[in-house]
Amino acid sequence: MTLPILSLIICIPLLAALVLASGKLKGYAQQISLGASLIQIGLLIKLALGYQTSTATFQWVEQHDWIHFSLGSLGQFVAKYHLGIDGLSFGLIILTGIISSIAIWNSDSIKEKTSSYFALIMLLNASLMGCFLAKDFLLFYLFFEFMLLPMYFLIGIWGGPRKEYASIKFFIYTLAGSLFILLALLALGTSYIDPYETALAIDFIQPGQAFSAENAQMIQTAIANGEIASDKWVHSFDAAVFADLKNCYYKSILHPDSAWVLGNLSAREWAFWLLFIGFGIKLPIVPFHTWLPDAHVEAPTPVSVLLAGVLLKIGAYGWLRFTLPFFPKEALEFSNILSGIGAISIIYGAFNALAMTDLKKLVAYSSISHMGFVLLGIASFTAEGWQGAIFQLISHGVLSSLLFLLVGVIYDRTHDRSIQNYSGLAQIMPAYTFITGLAFFASLGLPGFSGFIGEFFSLMGSFNSQHSSAIWAILGGLGIILGAGYFLWTFQKMFLGKQYLKNSEWLLSDLTRKEKLSLYFLGISSLLLGIFPSIIFNLTDNWVSHLINQLF
């Protein structure tokens, strides 16, 4: 039997969390979680070595029965513990592994209740990994929901002065999003019938036996003709089942022929919007974004890093993994509106960033702006746009982590993040100035850095899309100009000009070696991805063409 590596990736941080929660090894909390994180990275390297880029199918798949219950005449429900990685998730789990270690590495400023803090970070890591690894929609949802718990406490306990407000706001927003997704999940679960599981239930095939497309079609026809009793139907939450419209029972609410209409939208359209907004709150899209700046401002630096670096990506991942394959026609139908939301997010986030006086809030709004490119790319329904969107996810993961760490550097020293309270930092902190300049130029999309590739392809996809208007791409392009505006303005204000500190007692030492290590690592990563973007494109290429072929 081969090693269940994917399960190990989830279990190792859970195990570490258990050890930490027991409180027995109090003094070594950071070391334990860093160790767990490094083991995880080791496993990721093993995955990378064995990963086939030539195929779009899932690899390292693990599947076990998990939940099975009967609802009498309503049929049976099956949820599986089903893990796997493919071109979409692979880059993201590597990102998660690396960013988690960096967050732990930079957690020195956490002095209180360290074992609980690191235990929660480990829980967060496990649930993030679970989200990216789950193939079963219910399993994904479970991890997705579970994520809320560590995040809530991490902000609410170790946060800044308004931590209660921020954590509650985060909680309510996210819970609302989860409810939307839950509604869609229930509708999907009841409307779709898993042909394979049904075949097993009626003893059409035996466990372990091959199940061909013809077999599936036979079962589907038999269900449609009423040849299989409804109590033998098996509803599952397998993402692959929901992605095939033929599995949708013709009398169900989600069937395209269903007469159910509410406010001009059919049930499928409603389900699409529920999923879209549910995931969109995570991204976040305007106008569901106001939790993000507050959460970031209050969260301690490493939590911000995880939040911006990985957590936000789950929103876009949910669109690409579930929303689009489940509701391709609906998504296509609304692609112009989606592009519009993307463009507005870009512009709106950028305008808000221009108005900021708090450095961390500025970075938070820039995140909103940069995530808008992801939506713009996805809504283009072109290969370039999707590639750009996925690239932008990874690139933003690297760059936003870098930016938040940089904010943390100055906050650790002075506990003040107001842009106007600093000037001429270049003379006191040359290394810090250098890496901040690099991060700013990388974030404003200078060629040579990863940000450029993500924005270039998202915009190109959107501009050349046949489904959405080119106006949105042009509007999104304005975001590049505004981005240059707020980043360069901030850079000039804080780092250039005459040396000035609001409080003359502030002791501003330049970067320590420990800080440099992670900052340079992230900076160089962005440079590498910008110069050799094929590192990511090779991973995603097959996945994207596969999805395109599936939808069109």
Partner: protein
């Protein structure tokens, strides 16, 4: 092929060494490490140039991006056009590196300065060597970065930081247009590689060509400082003077002209865009020359003069006179770099004074600077037989046959140029010294590292015309023959010029008469430009640059600031958050009310339970009875 790779690689290595080891290296070492790469690149370019057999050479570098059906390779294209650009960039670049080693010698950021200069040369080479629009764009943005870094090099002064930021953002506006042009190219042709695109256009494929050309030209307007995106260039003079000479006169700002010549196949298919290019060029040429008339900062005059001369180049492009425009790119690189370096030498001698009203009579103390600056002035004024005369005259000759109105206006601009250049020259070098005693005590000719580049550039400004000496004065029109293979057919037709015609005499008159007038006014009568407070009327409007910066501030900057405040303070904070919070408050208050039901009183619970059962029963009975 390996030598081709080394041309951009060497400056990159120079950048890395100086950048990584700054400030550990001593200034002379950093200067040598910084100067060798452009010099070696120049030698390699010269070798390539001499060995060039007339066939375009493509050097594939890497298969950069391959996504679905889209593939973007990175490759270098060596042909007639890129070879000449290589020579200009590395040649003038080397001279300016040598000059900088003396000019910047007292600066604490010496090594950093050379690192940035090398990085600039790298990106500029990438820009001209790339075999497609994407590589061009990477270089294009890269030189923008270096321009930002070097304009704001002395960043302790806030206004310098402002200038750097303005340059970058204004260029970004142009770059968005360029980017859209690239998207359109991919849409139409599925590629942005020069050869593939131009072959397809020649074969009659592709629509929207006018739109593509227009979008690409928006990029050129930003980079080459044309109306309406020109206001960054005069401000860019905040950077050290060698930077102004290299980036903001000789090389980077001509990238827009390079791009149009490179894409001449595309632009020829869209005559209305070429028309637009010509008129934008004309308007910019006149505006720049007019503002230059009354500026008193020696670098500002040269900056507006650059804006104006770039306008001439675009005018030439508008008349499809590609060779003439490129000729002017070359001669302008010589004489404008010379003038800037000369100005730098003056500023150096004057202890960082830039106002010509506080100079005067410098010719005796700075003899080499004086003579070379004079030669540069004659060259730019268009006085024969200096380099500027031939190149400008060739543009004018084409305009004469293209559009007589444009020609006449261009002659006016030419006259303005001659006047303001001689004004600056006379006020700076002749008359009485008007500076402080301290400055007078320190007046000195610059060291050899600075005067040598001046002399070399002066020689080139004098004899540069031979590159494309027209047939009617016995020349062989080398440049026209050289560029012929990459230009549209028929674009190289020798224009017949008669010595006694208006066409020939008008430019000469426009060069000589204002020059004599300026010499009379500022030389013989010893007039000195008025102090700021005394300037009034139209002169004040011109002196204040027609208030264009103020207008932009009012039209764009202020509304954007207002919008950002409005979005944040009103929409985000008031509307969205209020909605969210009131939802929260509603839940909280209603649960507060509901909580009262959980009184802990068992009797109350039982009562509620019975009541509920009663209601359910009643409901069931209702449907059962009726």
């Amino acid at each position: 092929m390996s030598s081709i790779l080394f041309i951009p690689l060497l400056p990159l290595i120079g950048f890395l060494i100086n950048g990584l080891s700054f400030p550990k290296l001593s200034n002379p070492v950093a200067g040598i490490i910084g100067t060798i790469p452009p010099l070696a690149a120049f030698a390699l370019s010269l070798q390539l140039f001499l060995q060039f057999d007339g066939n375009t050479q493509i050097v594939p570098l890497l298969d950069w991006i391959s996504v679905g059906e889209l593939s973007i390779p990175i490759a270098f294209q060596i042909d007639q056009l890129s070879l000449l650009m290589l020579l200009i960039i590395t040649g003038v670049g080397t001279l300016i590196h040598v000059y900088s080693s003396a000019y910047m010698s007292h600066d604490e950021g010496f090594g950093k300065f050379f690192a940035f200069l090398n990085l600039f040369v790298f990106f500029m080479l990438l820009l001209v060597m790339g075999s497609g629009f994407v590589t061009l764009f990477i270089g294009w943005e890269g030189v923008g970065l270096c321009s930002y870094l070097l304009i704001g090099f002395w960043n302790k002064k806030n206004s310098y930081g402002d200038a750097a930021r303005k340059a970058f953002i204004m260029n970004r506006i142009g770059d968005l247009g360029f980017l859209i042009g690239i998207f359109l190219l991919f849409q139409e042709f599925g590629t942005a590689t020069y050869q593939e695109v131009f072959e397809a256009i020649k074969a009659g494929n592709g629509s929207n060509l006018g739109l593509i050309a227009f979008c690409l030209f928006i990029g050129a307007m930003g980079k080459s400082a044309q109306i309406p995106l020109f206001t960054w260039l005069p401000d860019a003079m905040a950077g050290p003077t060698p930077v102004s000479a290299l980036i903001h006169a000789a090389t980077m700002v001509t990238a827009g002209i390079y791009m149009v010549i490179r894409a001449n196949v595309l632009f020829e298919m869209s005559p209305e865009v070429l028309h637009f290019v010509g008129w934008i060029g004309l308007a910019t040429a006149l505006l720049g020359a007019a503002i230059g008339l009354f500026q008193n900062d020696i670098k500002k005059v040269l900056a507006y003069s650059t804006v104006s001369q770039l306008g001439y180049m675009f005018m030439g492009l508008g008349a499809s006179a590609y060779t003439a425009s490129f000729f002017h790119v070359m001669t302008h690189a010589f004489f404008k770099a010379l003038l800037f370096l000369g100005a730098g030498s003056v500023i150096h001698a004057m202890s960082d004074e830039q106002d010509i009203r506080k100079m005067g009579g410098l010719k005796s103390q700075l003899p080499i600077t004086y003579i070379t600056f004079l030669l540069g002035t004659i060259a730019i004024a268009g006085i024969p037989p200096f380099a500027g005369f031939f190149s400008k005259d060739e543009i004018l000759a084409h305009l004469y046959h293209h559009d007589i109105v444009m020609w006449a206006l261009a002659i006016v601009g030419s006259a303005l140029t001659s006047f303001y250049m001689f004004r600056v020259f006379i006020v700076t070098f002749h008359g009485d010294f008007r500076g402080t005693q301290h400055q007078a005590d320190h007046l000195h000719e610059s060291p050899i590292a600075m005067t040598l580049p001046l002399i070399v550039l002066a020689v080139l400004s004098v004899i540069g015309g031979i590159i494309n000496l027209p047939a009617f004065v016995g020349g062989n029109e080398f440049l026209a023959h050289w560029l012929n293979p990459i230009l549209p057919e028929g674009s190289h037709e020798a224009l017949e010029v008669h010595f006694a015609s208006l066409e020939f005499l008008a430019p000469l008159a426009a060069a000589f008469i204002p020059a004599i007038f300026a010499i009379q006014l500022y030389g013989s009568k010893k007039a000195v430009p008025a102090a700021d407070a005394e300037i009034s009327g139209i002169q004040k409007i011109i002196y204040d640059k027609f208030y264009i910066d103020e207008a932009y501030n009012f039209l764009f900057v202020k509304p954007i600031q207002f919008l950002s405040q409005f979005f944040y303070s009103f929409i985000d904070f008031l509307i969205i958050d209020l909605l969210v919070e009131s939802t929260g408050k509603f839940v909280k208050s209603s649960s507060n009310e509901l909580r009262k039901l959980q009184s802990g009183n068992i009797g109350f619970y039982i009562f509620m339970m019975v009541a509920a059962i009663a209601i359910i029963l009643a409901w069931t009975l209702k449907s059962w009875i009726f």
